[in-house]
């Protein structure tokens, strides 16, 4: 594990930090530390403006190759960018679905025309995307997609069905959808990957109110909604391949940035403990020390992952999601225990509000992107080679 960085990396780090310091000011000041998971409804209009501010500085899509409009940064420099962005309190990225998920899929599987049509809007921070995978009957069993699609005589596609847990669909212009194009097919066979404008007569978006009161997720209903003939990515039947390739795209480069935000949250908990006098409580001290140990573990785990040989199974990578989500959920409980009765009333106090959000939203952390239970199956089967769960034949 290498803890030293090169002089060039340090220069780059300074460049990012300086840019953030110069630009996350004025009207954007109120966005600092806002808009993360559980807080995605914070001032979307201003955060979209911030996306364009980033784009003007060429700080969107930093990991994309230059010919796709990106900055072509190395893995090391992408890590530094995410770290410094989070350290400066950079707001949750409105464009992250387009930049982190759809863009890489188009770069890998899209036609030249699709790249030309869609990549520039993502890079410029002008087109926002939503992800249409999960369905009421396709959660952990993601391949159990029931939404269907068919092709009309003019070559265009029609889609009918329902998607759910669609983050920020109500703030997005486009959605990419996994739908069944071969009637009677099962599991991951017979799916198509379609690009669809959200603003059309066949699509209805309804917010889902979460336990913390917010509405960043939606249900999206499709009733013979239309996708253009040239807006299918890959061939009909290749949808699963495209979707999975896109889940692999991330490679953990934003992990250290996420941890920078976690550090900020732990700092808030420590400050709250000082303020409430709980810093004298031996059990609270144990839990805070434990939380700090977990942060160090996550940092070293990420450094192990980044310095590892990516062709072999990475044991540190396979535990990553389970570890951080449970750590974060525990931090949420610790935060409100430290606050005591102060946590019981919705607050606008910047020392309290984020901790309340943390407490409620971290309950989702161990559910989305693979529940705890699915993660443990993966760890046992892929990490330890234990027998697979019985699966019905597709």
């Amino acid at each position: 594990m290498n803890l030293q960085s090169t002089a060039a990396d340090e220069t780059f780090r300074k460049e990012v930090a300086t840019w953030m310091q110069k630009h996350l000011v004025g009207k954007y000041t109120s966005l600092k530390y806002r808009g993360g998971p559980g807080d995605e409804e914070a001032d979307p209009a201003m955060r979209k403006e911030w996306e364009r501010e980033l784009a003007a500085g060429q700080w969107t899509c930093v990991g994309w190759p230059a010919d796709a409009g990106g900055r072509g940064l190395s893995i090391e420099q992408q890590v530094i960018f995410h770290e410094e962005y989070a350290r400066a309190g950079g707001p949750g990225r409105m464009g992250h679905i387009g930049e982190g998920l759809l863009g890489p899929a188009l770069i890998k599987f899209g036609s030249e025309a699709q790249k030309k049509e869609f990549l520039p809007g993502i890079v410029a921070g002008t087109t926002f995307w939503a992800q249409g995978y999960s369905e009421p009957g396709a959660g952990s069993d993601l391949a159990n997609v029931q939404t269907k699609c068919w092709q009309e005589a003019d070559g265009s596609w029609r889609v009918s069905g329902q998607k759910i847990w669609t983050s920020l669909a109500h703030e997005s212009e486009w959605i990419f959808v996994l739908a069944r194009c071969e009637p009677g097919s099962k599991g991951n066979k017979g799916l198509a990957f379609l690009l669809m404008p959200l603003n059309q007569p066949g699509i209805e978006i309804r917010g889902i109110r979460q336990l913390g009161g917010g509405c960043e997720f939606n249900e999206v209903f499709f009733d013979s909604a239309t996708a253009q003939a040239n807006h299918i990515v890959g061939a009909p039947g290749d949808g699963w391949k495209v979707a999975m390739g896109l889940l692999e795209a991330e490679r953990g480069v934003s992990t250290l940035g996420q941890q920078m935000h976690f550090t900020h949250e732990l700092d808030l908990v420590i400050a709250a403990a000082r303020a409430t006098g709980k810093d004298k409580n031996p059990q609270v001290r144990q839990r805070i020390a434990n939380a700090w140990c977990g942060l160090r573990v996550m940092r070293y785990n990420a450094l192990r992952m980044l310095s590892g040989d990516s062709t072999t199974l990475q044991r540190e990578a396979i535990i990553g999601k389970y570890y951080w989500s449970n750590w974060h959920r525990d931090l949420g409980k610790l935060a409100v225990d430290v606050l005591g009765p102060l946590a019981d009333v919705p607050s606008d106090d910047p020392a309290i509000r984020p901790l309340q959000q943390l407490f409620f939203f971290s309950r989702a952390d161990t559910i989305y992107a693979g529940t705890n239970e699915i993660q443990l199956n993966l760890i046992a089967e892929r990490g330890l080679g234990m027998p697979r769960e019985p699966r019905p034949a597709a």
């Binding site: 434990n290 760890i379 330890l384 234990m386 027998p387």
Partner: protein, 369 residues
Amino acid sequence: MIRDAAENFLADVSDSAAVRKAMASERGYDESVWQRIASELGWCGIAVPEEHGGLGLGAVEIALVQEQIGRRLLCAPFFSTVCLAANILKEVGSNAAQKQYLSSLAEGGLRATLPLPSDVAGWSAAAANVVATRESGHWRIQGVVDRVPDAANAELLLIFANTSEGLGLFAVPADSNGMQILTAEPWDTTRRFSRVIMDLMLPADARVDEPIRSAGFARSLALARLYVAAEQLGAAQQCLDLTVAYTATRKQFGRVVGSFQAVKHRCAEMMVKIEALRSAVYGAAAQAAGDASIDVLATECMMARALAGDALFYCAGEAIQLHGGVGFTWEYDPQLYFKRAQASSHWLGDSDALREQIAETLFSSAVHA
């Protein structure tokens, strides 16, 4: 490379039968294995500077070897000689003391040890009941120290004592007049501890620490914690490996028990704790090899040690449970790891005490890394 060599060698010389044989022997280890470690493999000199006949490597490499040693519960004076004695001499020893002892430690010709207190304060706690006074050009050492590992086999004891100028470290030959070494047989017979009672006279050059290197006491304590943690990591890994292997063969209800989700998830939880610990140990070792300040290194190594104690006990307990009835027997190995887990849980401070130290650091500083 050194990791693979250690893994292969120890699988060969320190399997379950060999460990049990060593445990039952009077000395507690196999001298021929120790000789091979010292002369063939050169492990004793890993972190000893080349000028003193060592390999000039450092904490990263010792941690890797310790991990494999813990995995196989190797019975040998390696931990006391290398992780404790050579470690502290390198960090605080005067030039003369380094010259006198490091090369024989590096070649494994000298078995040495020092106390391993359970108090989180570390070395100073080991000096609590030992006083060193100057008497007519000699040092007089009086007092009692508990918990000296491998003392019954060591030729040299490094003893912490309070002097009029503070903590001092003294080289005491095991055959000195006025020294009694009392060894009780513990539950974990893979590592034996002694109580040492002293009232003896030593020559003036018996004080081996160099006062201007006194910061080395804290650094050697941090490294010792790291090496304990690495050993606990390896032991935890073996608990998981034994369990996965056993549950892959044991059948009930017509299927291997390892195919039940209730069992798989518990093994997966073990893996999560072990890989988290591995990241912590490797990270702390990388800090030790880099340019971390002593304050940072001390906290990182406390973190690794606290996590390691908890992870090992958890995994040893799970290994017994998931082996079912045979896990409770003398014949199967989980019991060996369970005993080591509890015995080592308080070496250089238990996890609660270490976390309290970390909390103190967090609350006393405005910022943290």
